[in-house]
């Protein structure tokens, strides 16, 4: 049985260690914040210039001057700190963020990541994604194992434009958890009652297990 979104988020949350500074991508990765284990305290970075990002605000806390990188209104915490975009990306590029959890369109067996552009569709831009994958110490991808049309997202080589080369350290899908290092991709955990064969069938990239 494939993992549910909640189970995937819990697996991602289990990667977080106490004291980590973490950047969560827009969409499913943002949900991971709701599953951080007890006793683990992490500080969320928002690349538009904030450490210690709080949850969505109550109605009367809404402030046009307080948004996250997805342009959503958020709230302040006692530990919040603000800074400008140059400082924010100095922090990211300089390797001071411990982990980033991001979505993906494709991940290759060597850790190449494509998550910013589908040729032929309107280009929106890479925002901070290329900086994050280049600079953050550990990059975790959280995504469905296959695209909506059933095609593999764990591929031999990305056909979509890259966000970064050999940047992904871990991939969590609804079928399994894959570690990527210089030797390649390795399945380290699989969803209950899912066989390695089934995963192989639905994966283009070679992997060990």
């Amino acid at each position: 049985m494939p993992w549910t979104l909640e189970q995937m988020c819990r697996l991602a949350a289990a990667e977080l260690k106490d004291g980590y500074y973490v950047n969560l991508g827009i969409g499913m990765p943002t949900e991971v914040a709701n599953y951080i284990p007890d006793g683990v305290s992490v500080t969320l970075q928002s690349e538009n210039g904030m450490l210690g990002m709080g949850p969505f605000p109550s109605e009367n806390e809404v402030d046009a001057d307080l948004i996250n990188a997805g342009k959503q209104t958020i709230s302040e915490l006692p530990e919040s700190v603000y800074f400008d975009s140059a400082e924010s990306f100095a922090m990211i590029r300089g390797g001071h963020i411990d982990m980033s959890i991001l979505g993906a369109l494709q991940v290759a067996g060597n850790g190449d990541l494509a998550n910013w552009m589908i040729p032929g569709k309107m280009v929106k831009g890479m925002g901070g994604a290329m900086d994050l994958v280049a600079g953050v110490k550990r990059v975790v991808v959280l995504m469905e194992h296959n695209a909506k049309d059933g095609s593999a997202k764990l591929v031999k080589s990305c056909s979509l434009p890259l966000t970064g080369k050999a940047v992904v350290d871990l991939v969590i899908t609804d079928l399994g958890v894959f570690e990527i290092d210089q030797k390649g991709m390795k399945l380290i955990e699989k969803a209950p009652d899912i066989s390695v064969d089934e995963i192989k069938k639905r994966t283009e990239a070679p992997f060990t297990h």
């Binding site: 109550s58 046009a64 209104t73 400008d84 590029r93 901070g128």
Partner: protein, 232 residues
């Protein structure tokens, strides 16, 4: 020194505009954009602008206003996904576009203000961003060379400012404003509250007035929220 204070956005732009010029505009999404100066740019009729800004507003607010009037020829941005006018003009070939990774864009502005013509970064190595750029190894890792951005005019928005041009920002409304304030040959700041010199804490000025040539108190701030999300 209070010669930096101008009565309004139109006056502050006086003598600085020419068709085809490059302008940097602070803000992230619709947060802390120089609303009043953008409206005055529209009214000025200046054309064929190259605009450096992380985003391009929405259809009817922020820099989107200058798209509607077709005053922008080229954008240098990191993300423009919120704007249908943008998509249309780009697909019609009316608009040029240069995407920069967000951190590279911020650093190019910072470098422009800091007298650093070029720097190396890991961001974008092996991607389309690296095309045509020098790649070099340092300590066994590949980096690409990015160059500085200097604009003929920078327009920024702060929370408070004093008559010497010293600026203070509030919460995440700081974003691109400080690095862009340093990178304009001329920089105009608009603020919600203009105060006397000495009223801001000298230990806590975000943008020293040396970077700001002209300053106005904005006539009116809509401070539109792009994605209002609240806790249930």
């Amino acid at each position: 020194m209070s010669k930096k204070v101008y009565p309004n956005a139109k006056a502050a732009l006086d003598g600085l505009l020419s068709d085809g010029m490059m302008i940097m505009a602070g803000g992230f999404g619709l947060c802390a954009i120089p609303e009043n100066l953008i409206l005055a740019l529209r009214d000025s009729g200046v054309k064929n602008l190259t605009v450096v800004s992380n985003n391009c507003g929405v259809d009817d607010f922020g820099l989107g206003i200058l798209l509607q009037t077709r005053q922008i020829k080229k954008m240098i941005s990191s993300y423009v996904g919120e704007n249908a006018t943008f998509a249309k003009q780009f697909l019609d070939g009316e608009l040029e576009l240069e995407f920069n990774p967000q951190g590279t864009l911020a650093e190019r502005c910072r470098a422009g203000g800091a007298g650093i013509p070029a720097f190396f970064t890991k961001t974008g190595v092996g991607t389309v961003v690296a095309e045509g750029k020098e790649t070099r190894e340092f300590n066994g890792e590949a980096y690409i060379m990015e160059t500085a951005l200097v604009a003929e005019l920078s327009i920024v928005k702060a929370w408070k400012g004093d008559k010497n041009g010293n600026l203070v920002y509030r919460r995440t409304a700081r974003n691109f404003n400080p690095p862009m304030a340093t990178a304009g040959r001329v920089t105009i700041a608009e603020v919600e509250e203009l105060v006397e010199v000495g009223q801001l804490d000298p230990n806590h000025i975000h943008t020293p007035g040396i970077y700001v040539n002209r300053i106005i108190q904005g006539a009116r701030y809509e401070k539109r929220i792009e994605r209002r999300t609240v806790r249930k």
